[in-house]
């Protein structure tokens, strides 16, 4: 193991706080969806927090992130403030994309968060181009490209792995394997369910990691990033994880049993880290209460921000269909 993670108290509590921020944010989203404040498709990240939080620890501000449509966790972990995020879901002009994108299309230029892409697999080619531009312009930056295991079914996965390896593009491909593409189990969609092994076919490095363990994910991500930065080659990191909630809000979950969900809930990344921190004496009940209170306050502030937001004037409907200039 070349990458070191010093899991001291501060870092452990940081990881826990980040995951809790995501978990509570998603809970609030579910509530607001049912109150019809949020509409459209809403895909929540509960259960997968360790993946986003773990991977983001390995990235620097110069790096960029390409997300999926289940990207609230990725966005929060990347540092996008909750206010514009929530306002985006409220469809308000104060949203990070002026309410144009909604839940599935979070973009934040400042934090190099390049969507929020609701076409499964469509973010992968973008990541190649972002990485190519970095290389051609001499920037020592890399791209973390998140996708689900369902994207590995798509032709774009193959095209992108091949081209990334061929052109030695600095991309960390992060496969969040949560076992289901909507309702289809990975076993009936993939001939090779160990997604990371596909990397070998492209002469690319890769590994699988417990996606329910933020520390394990962080360690693996740091290791991958180090390789990418040193060798300038892509890497495929498969994070085996599970979403606790339905695929989207309107989903009876006929495709899996309650028992299966319960068994994965026992591996809840937040509980695991919390217990570990408590056992190690790093976290006291009062600490947790304070963190929870902070998170609740942060979310309340975000909701208030979104509520107070205004709809984009309809006169601006066609603004940005074409751009007058390239934003710098």
């Amino acid at each position: 193991m070349t990458a070191k993670v010093h899991l001291d108290r501060a870092h452990g509590v940081h990881l826990l706080r980040e995951m809790l921020r995501i978990r509570r944010f998603e809970e609030k989203c579910a509530e607001l969806y049912q109150a019809q404040k949020i509409r459209g498709f809403l895909h929540l990240y509960d259960g997968q927090e360790a993946v986003a939080v773990g991977v983001m620890q390995a990235l620097g501000p110069q790096d960029a992130v390409v997300g999926t449509y289940r990207e609230h966790g990725q966005a929060i972990a990347r540092g996008i403030p909750m206010g514009p995020l929530m306002a985006e879901m409220f469809g308000k002009v104060e949203g990070c994309c002026r309410g144009r994108g909604g839940s599935m299309h979070i973009f934040d230029r400042q934090r190099r968060f390049i969507g929020g892409n609701a076409i499964v697999g469509a973010g992968l080619p973008l990541a190649l181009g972002l990485a190519l531009a970095n290389r051609m312009q001499g920037r020592k930056a890399m791209i973390a490209c998140f996708f689900g295991e369902g994207a590995a079914d798509e032709g774009e996965f193959h095209e992108s792995m091949n081209l990334a390896s061929l052109w030695r593009l600095p991309v960390l491909f992060v496969c969040e394997n949560n076992l289901y593409s909507m309702g289809t189990p990975v076993g009936i969609a993939e001939a090779e369910t160990a997604i990371w092994q596909k990397a070998a076919a492209y002469r690319m490095g890769g590994e699988a990691v417990d996606g329910m363990d933020p520390v394990a994910v962080e360690v693996a991500a740091r290791r991958a990033v180090e390789r990418i930065r040193e060798d300038g080659v892509p890497w495929l990191l498969e994070c085996r994880t599970y979403r606790f909630r339905a695929h989207s809000m309107f989903d009876a979950q006929l495709y899996r049993t309650k028992e299966e969900v319960e068994s994965w809930r026992k591996r809840d990344p937040i509980n695991r880290l919390r217990e570990w921190l408590e056992k190690a004496g790093h976290l006291h009940p009062a600490d947790l209460e304070r963190i929870e209170a902070d998170v609740v306050a942060e979310i309340a502030e975000a909701v208030a921000f979104a509520e107070a937001g205004s709809p984009e004037p309809v006169e601006e409907l066609e603004r940005f269909v074409t751009m007058d200039e390239v934003p710098q």
Binding site: F107, G129, V326
Partner: protein, 331 residues
């Protein structure tokens, strides 16, 4: 460069345009299938790899979606890629990237990102390449908000449209008709640039307006020549820009001629010609002194056999007949 007009082929004009763009701006590079070692499927990029190197002339694997998407990503990250898709028929393999990413991201991101990408592709029929290499799909792309669609028909446009396309902050698709590559034309060195916004009147006339673009331009001009012999003065408009359409030039012409034939190598149903016709009806209905006529490809997959292929395509005879029927209807 000499000061006298040079006769060059359309292919050479495309090549000069790419070469000049890459030399002028370090952010510009070309990628696509067989653009380097092979020299381009239609030999447009022959010699460029040797001159400009692998970094700027990039052969890609047969991965339309990946390299078009990579072009979009690179454009978003500060580069000015020229992506060549061998023919527009293959662009369907990258349709997701073009339509779902390139055309949506600027708007969907609330203006945070632009996609200054140029996508070149060959279009059209006439070389007996059969149905999977001969279709004219530019009309489809002209349906998509966020894209600019160009159809250079002359050597001058082939030479000069690329630079403004690269300067456009938006994705620009350039459709080069395969029958034009061998065409020779005069390139006036005094012309240093063209716009990518306006249609052009390629031949003035007072009796009927013939609207066309791309590979059909010269068939339409031939029809206009034939009509002139009969005393019918046809005005020929080369659309040049298929999206956004320069409706003003069309309406201005029709306000004078009051009769119009639209020539489009795309199929008739749900087509660019239908869009042009409807704009005329919307904006110039009361100027019309005759029904709008169209000459389009027959609604078949373009066949291989030469006589069938020609029968499927708009031809000068049919264009002239349509115009004549409007100006001098048989009674």
């Amino acid at each position: 460069m000499s000061g006298v007009p040079a006769r060059i082929t359309y292919r050479e004009a495309c090549r000069q345009a790419i070469r000049a763009a890459i030399l002028a701006d370090p952010r510009v590079f070309l990628m696509g299938e067989d653009v380097g070692r092979y020299g381009g499927c239609y030999a447009v990029t022959k010699g460029l790899l040797e001159e400009l190197g692998e970094e700027r002339i990039r052969d890609t694997p047969l991965s339309e979606s990946a390299f078009v998407g990579a072009g979009i990503g690179a454009a978003m990250a500060g580069m000015r890629p020229i992506v060549e898709v061998m023919t527009c028929n293959f662009s369907l393999l990258a349709l997701d990237q073009i339509v779902n990413n390139a055309a949506t991201i600027p708007h969907m991101s609330g203006g945070q990102f632009a996609v200054p990408l140029v996508l070149r592709m060959a279009t059209g029929a006439g070389r007996q390449l059969a149905a999977q290499h001969s279709h004219s799909l530019e009309g489809w792309f002209a349906h998509i908000p966020g894209l600019r669609i160009l159809a250079p028909a002359t050597v001058e446009d082939a030479r000069h449209m690329l630079a403004p396309a690269l300067a456009d902050p938006n994705p620009v698709l350039i459709f080069e008709h395969i029958m034009l590559y061998n065409m020779e034309g005069e390139l006036d060195p005094a012309v240093q640039g063209v716009d990518i916004a306006k249609a052009r009147i390629r031949r003035p006339g007072r009796d009927v307006t013939l609207i066309t673009y791309g590979g059909s331009l010269f068939k339409t001009l031939a029809a206009a020549d034939a009509l002139a012999v009969e005393g019918i003065q046809a005005e020929v408009i080369d659309l040049r820009v298929l999206r956004p359409l320069d409706t003003a030039t069309i309406i201005e012409s029709i306000t004078r001629t009051r009769r119009v034939v639209i020539v489009d190598e795309g199929w008739r149903s749900g087509s660019l010609s239908a869009e042009v016709a409807m704009r005329i009806v919307e904006e110039a209905f009361f100027e019309l002194d005759a029904p709008i006529r169209r000459v389009c490809s027959r609604e078949v997959p373009i066949p291989y056999a030469a006589h069938l292929e020609q029968a499927a395509l708009p031809q000068a005879e049919a264009i002239a007949a349509a115009a004549r029927g409007l100006v001098r209807p048989a009674r």
